[in-house]
């Protein structure tokens, strides 16, 4: 039997790869942001799995607390990014950075 | 041992500078008092210092910046030679500049940087270590730039750009040389030469070359002289400063320090780097004279003449024989006195008669007699006609060349004297024997502030030659310094 932690840790590793790919490959900023959130939760899952991995004496509360903090911070970043993106979209009718569309920055 | 005097001497130019910047434009009286007061106090201090040094008191001030990096101000005989020259000429130039600039724009800025520039020169003369020398050398570059661009017209700004384009790479080379050397030997203190032999011959030669390149820019050594004639776009007092008091002199002074205090005569000879430098200096002497011959503007001709004359100092230093050393050192003073006279006169011609081209000089001698007499004295000195000071330098240099087993030096000197005569005598002829055209503009010399300094420096050039044998003449002082360096 594989411990849950290992499985979800591996899943986290996979999610990091998926999120990173989306973040780097997309030009559309909303998609990049969405991918970033996938990437972030992958990191959190790996962190959480590491907290669980040790010989079982109860879950380690410290990583859990850190992850909650991390989730809030990630939301904060996403919120500002989205507001900026909406502003950009209204001003330029584009949803990507100029250099990602082959325009001069 | 005391630290007060070197710092005070530096402060006599630095403090007025910092105060002048904040003066409103119209406060010309306060500006003049600060300037002249500083210059006068400086001369007094220098005289006092001479007495002290003669009594064997050491003066030294030190400021630590970081481990291995410190500023050291220290007085030795060579320092005094340069400091006394620059103190005297600063006073003269200040009087002249106040009269010359009158109530033009941006004078607080001008005189602020002017004093800063002199402070940098003083620091450079007082520098007791290589890095201190470098720091003041750079400060000199930075503080002269605003003076060069003072007029703010396109020509001045271009001249300023050219000046920096030459100077900054030069000082970068100098910095690399210094740090390369010091990373092997530790801080180089002038009076106490370290053991340079820890570096290989090839490294030492490369360091010497970088040094020569670095200070050569300021000394207007061929082919690094291109900035100097262009800088004539600046006002006349700035030309005087560049050519006689500070910048070019700092370069020549640096070469002297390099050969005598960093490498030492013995090592220089061993490495065989003296001769190439001497040859380059000789070439510069001839090249500068030839170029001067081609010029049609008074100030341009004088500028190329400087290129040529400063290399006499370098030639003397590079030959490193007893007489050559004396000749080079004494020319440091003599050239300064004579060239500043010529520039003062050129400024007078320009301001008072509107003369900038040589062909306009016709008959000016009768309309501006005092100015023209001073000009004549300066020009004769440059050619090397006795009894003006220039003769003494050339005489010693020639002897030094023979003594060092380089008889070609005499040939170079003779050729140069001929060329000098070739470009100065026609000017003198026009001044005294030419006939002024009927439509010549008004000319007078009713500017005491400009005339007195010219007369004073002309008299000094004459006196330095006439009384070369006296105990306190520049020649005697140079001989004293030379005796200290020679084995």
């Amino acid at each position: 039997m594989i411990p849950s932690a290992t499985l979800f840790g591996l899943a986290g590793a996979a999610l990091v790869g998926i999120g990173l790919y989306g973040f780097l490959a997309h030009a559309h900023l909303l998609r990049r942001l969405l991918s970033f959130n996938v990437l972030g939760s992958g990191v959190f899952l790996m962190f959480g799995a590491a907290a669980w991995r040790s010989p079982w004496i109860g879950a380690d509360a410290v990583p859990h607390a850190l992850i909650i903090t991390g989730i809030v911070v990630k939301l904060a970043g996403s919120a500002l990014a989205i507001a900026l993106l909406v502003q950009l979209a209204r001003a330029t009718r584009r949803a990507a950075l100029p250099e990602d569309e082959g325009r001069p920055p | 041992m005391t630290a007060v005097l070197p710092v005070l001497i530096l402060a006599t130019s630095l403090v007025p500078a910092l105060l002048i910047f904040w003066l409103p434009e119209r406060a010309w009286r306060a500006r003049a008092w600060l300037n002249l007061g500083g210059a006068a106090v400086k001369i007094l201090l220098v005289v006092f210092l001479m007495v002290e040094v003669a009594n064997g008191v050491t003066h030294e001030a030190r400021l630590d910046l970081a481990p291995g990096l410190y500023l050291l101000l220290r007085v030795d005989a060579l320092t005094l030679l340069f400091v006394s020259l620059s103190a005297f000429l600063w006073l003269m130039t200040t009087i002249y500049a106040i009269a010359y600039l009158g109530d033009g724009p941006n004078l607080s800025r001008f005189f602020g940087f002017f004093s800063l520039c002199v402070a940098a020169t003083t620091g450079l003369a007082l520098a007791g270590t290589l890095i201190t020398f470098f720091i003041f050398f750079e400060l000199l570059t930075l503080t002269t730039w605003p003076l060069v661009v003072h007029k703010e017209d396109a020509k001045s700004v271009k001249a300023g750009r050219l000046y920096l384009a030459y100077s900054l790479p030069g000082s970068a080379a100098l910095l690399v040389a210094i740090i390369w050397l010091e990373s092997a030997t530790g801080p180089v203190i002038f009076a106490e030469p370290g053991d340079l032999r820890v570096l290989s011959d090839a490294s030492l030669m490369a360091i010497f070359a970088l040094f020569a390149l670095g200070v050569g820019v300021k000394a207007a050594l061929f082919p690094l002289h291109g900035w100097l004639p262009e800088a004539m776009a600046a006002p006349a007092p700035v030309s005087a400063l560049l050519h006689a008091v500070a910048v070019v002199k700092a370069g020549a002074f640096g070469i002297v320090r390099l050969i005598y205090d960093v490498f030492g005569i013995a090592l220089t000879a061993e490495l065989g780097v003296g001769l190439p430098l001497a040859l380059l200096a000789a070439f510069t002497i001839l090249w500068g004279s030839l170029r001067a011959l081609q010029q049609t503007e008074v100030k341009k001709r004088l500028a190329f003449s400087t290129v040529s004359q400063v290399s006499y100092i370098i030639l003397g230093a590079a030959l490193a024989g007893p007489y050559a050393v004396i000749g080079g050192l004494v020319h440091l003073v003599h050239q300064g006195l004579m060239k500043i006279t010529l520039f003062f006169c050129a400024g007078l011609y320009d301001e008072r008669a509107g003369i900038t081209r040589i062909d306009q000089l016709d008959g000016i001698g009768r309309r501006m007699p005092m100015t023209s007499i001073c000009f004549t004295i300066g020009a004769m000195g440059m050619i090397g006609i006795p009894p003006v000071a220039g003769f003494v330098s050339k005489f010693y240099l020639g002897l030094g060349g023979l003594q060092a087993g380089e008889p070609w030096v005499v040939g170079v000197l003779a050729a140069s004297a001929l060329l000098n005569a070739g470009y100065f005598l026609p000017m003198l002829y026009r001044i005294w024997f030419g006939v002024a055209p009927a439509d010549a503009p008004q000319a007078d010399e009713r500017s005491l502030g400009m005339l007195v300094p010219a007369v004073a420096t002309a008299a000094a050039s004459l006196a330095a030659g006439l009384f070369a044998g006296a105990a306190i003449s520049p020649l005697a002082w140079a001989s004293l310094i030379a005796a200290g360096y020679l084995p």
Binding site: G12, S41, I82, V86 | -
Partner: protein
């Protein structure tokens, strides 16, 4: 065995949802997949016995982020803003896969190290809470939490700064028009009391059981959003003093307690005998501020002149 099978199913769904969210053809579909993905992440946290994290992920990671993304899709669509399609980049995909493999290997081969369970357990009595996660958040690592609650505020100020100059002083977001007898309005009247109850419970319970200011605050924010969408409550003007006070109350309270501690010798230190009361007070204050900040973040900057 059944546990592992269940885990495997969750992992498979997780990865599939992530791939779908990142690779979806349409933007809207991507966001929908993302919300689904968030739910699976929350389930994963449940499987890892991290109920606090699961709650936070469900409320913030999936819920609020989803709402923000959906809102953005709407705005972008209305603005007609597009972007060139994804460039299929095989080398990049391979590189990312490589990174995943390396990280996976790291997960498998990390040496066993005991966590901080023991020190946390030892310090728990007198920390002001019996829920270790709350103790870590509000006591042991209170500084992180303080900064984090202020990060939300910083971002809100940043979002508001994007308002048109003329709209300053107006109400955040675009004005919603809802039919008074519609379904949304009905929900808007029905749900808030319920949500309020859940939110308050989460905060209250947080000191003993999973829950706390962030989870509770999110639920309260959702309640407010729903109510304002239904037209029951109007968002106050951005210049409203009450609103500003609500936004900073929690962090100010937190900081004040911390400074009082500093005067007593340790910044952010809680006296053991007062810790329980202080933790609860801070939680309540933070909940208020977090709820307002989150709700306002979703509403966005004011856009119409006051």
């Amino acid at each position: 065995m059944i546990g592992t099978a269940l885990d495997l199913v969750v992992v498979a769904l997780l990865v599939a949802a992530a791939l779908a969210a990142v690779g979806a053809r349409g933007l809207f579909a991507g966001v929908v997949f993302f919300v689904g993905y968030g739910v699976f992440v929350a389930i994963a946290w449940l499987r890892l016995d991290a109920i606090d994290v699961a709650l936070a992920e469900a409320a913030i990671g999936a819920g609020l982020t989803g709402v923000l993304l959906l809102g953005a899709v709407g705005h972008l669509t209305r603005a007609g803003a597009g972007a060139p399609p994804r460039r299929p980049a095989i080398p990049l995909a391979l590189a990312c896969a490589g990174i995943s493999v390396m990280l996976g290997w790291a997960v498998l081969s990390l040496p066993d190290a005991p966590g901080l369970q023991a020190p946390v357990a030892a310090a728990l009595p007198g920390s002001g809470s019996t829920n270790p996660v709350t103790s870590v958040l509000l006591n042991f690592r209170a500084f992180d939490t303080l900064l984090e609650s202020i990060v939300l505020l910083a971002v809100l100020v940043g979002v508001w700064a994007l308002a048109p100059d003329a709209a300053w002083g107006g109400r955040p977001g675009l004005v919603q028009r809802v039919r008074p007898d519609g379904v949304l309005a009905g929900f808007g009247r029905l749900l808030p009391p319920l949500g309020l109850l859940v939110g308050v419970y989460l905060v209250w319970a947080g000191t003993k059981q999973p829950g706390g200011a962030f989870q509770g605050g999110t639920v309260l924010a959702a309640v407010w959003l729903l109510a304002s969408m239904a037209g029951v409550a109007r968002a106050p003007r951005v210049t409203s003093l009450i609103l500003r006070a609500a936004l900073v109350a929690g962090p100010v309270l937190f900081l004040a307690v911390g400074m009082a501690g500093a005067l007593g010798g340790s910044f952010l230190g809680l006296r053991p005998d007062w810790a329980a009361a202080l933790v609860l007070t801070i939680e309540v204050g933070l909940t208020l501020s977090i709820a307002s900040a989150l709700a306002l973040l979703v509403l966005g900057p004011p856009e119409r002149p006051a």
